[in-house]
Subunit: 145 residues, 2 copies
DNA sequence: CTCTATGCAAATCTTTTGCACGAAC
DNA sequence: GTTCGTGCAAAAGATTTGCATAGAG
């Protein structure tokens, strides 16, 4: 019943997946994937662009956006919106939720199990299928309250 | 233990609250409150501006933003961010969560009870105090799946 | 050689801000 | 009369798009 975990374990896996769809393995994609695989934190498109540009200064941010979009479609990357700020992206790893602190902006990842009960209740009572990759709860973290 | 429900039942209640803080009861505020009280749906600042401007065409959208900000601070209005779109605002009514459909964009309000269990679990296990006015879960609604 | 991806610039959309004037108290 | 609120215009931040060209297959 659970949807499968991402089947892309390496950068070349992803690029192979893109080629199957008629896409191409470009240096910009390789670099962006390198940055995404190197560190699984939640980063904005601008952050990611900065890290890619440290390696290849003329990769444009519009290329970053276009490729992130593509990776999200492929299921390689999750996009999560926190509050009003920019979207954040991270490698689609184990299903998890996000606790976003309104005060310090910090993000805590919490395992999926915590949300199972809620997700089931929503399914049963409202016929609503929660997207478990996008769970984000706003509030105050332990440090800030 | 539960924080109190909003103590502003009418437009004049709110304006009185503003005066206590050294603020003023202006026509623009009265109109915006009128629009907010008339219909408790979730609307963007632009939507609200449109409805106010139908009554007073030269109320500027920056005034709408400034007043919404003020109302949020006062606890009169809740601001909720859905996905990447514009923030939505609605009168701070009974505590509730939001189910946002990724497909049709519809918003379903669900009573707070559904989230109590999760909020308690987050508090106990992570020391995280969830903001119950901002609960928003993304997924697919009953109609769209 | 073909067609996709990229760089660059400009456009779009949402929200915020500076400033001078008008209005509430 | 003060001080706060407003309109207007401009700025700011995030993201998207058009177009000509470079480059992957």
């Amino acid at each position: 019943m659970l949807p499968p975990e991402s089947s892309f374990a390496t950068i070349d896996d992803v690029l192979a997946g893109m080629r199957q769809r008629g896409g191409r393995a470009t240096p910009a994609r390789r670099l962006l994937l390198g940055v995404l695989f190197r560190d699984r934190q939640h980063r904005s498109a601008e952050d990611l662009a900065g890290e890619v540009q440290a390696l290849a200064p003329d990769v444009n941010i519009s290329t970053i956006y276009r490729n992130l979009e593509e990776f999200v479609r492929l299921g390689v990357v999750d996009r999560v919106y926190f509050g009003g700020g920019p979207a954040t992206y991270h490698l689609s790893s184990g299903r998890h939720g996000h606790l976003v602190c309104d005060s310090c902006g910090g993000v805590t990842e919490v395992p999926d199990e915590v949300f199972v009960e809620l997700a089931d209740a929503l399914a049963v009572r409202y016929g609503f299928i929660a997207d478990r990759h996008q769970f984000a709860v706003a509030g105050l973290c332990a440090d800030c309250r």
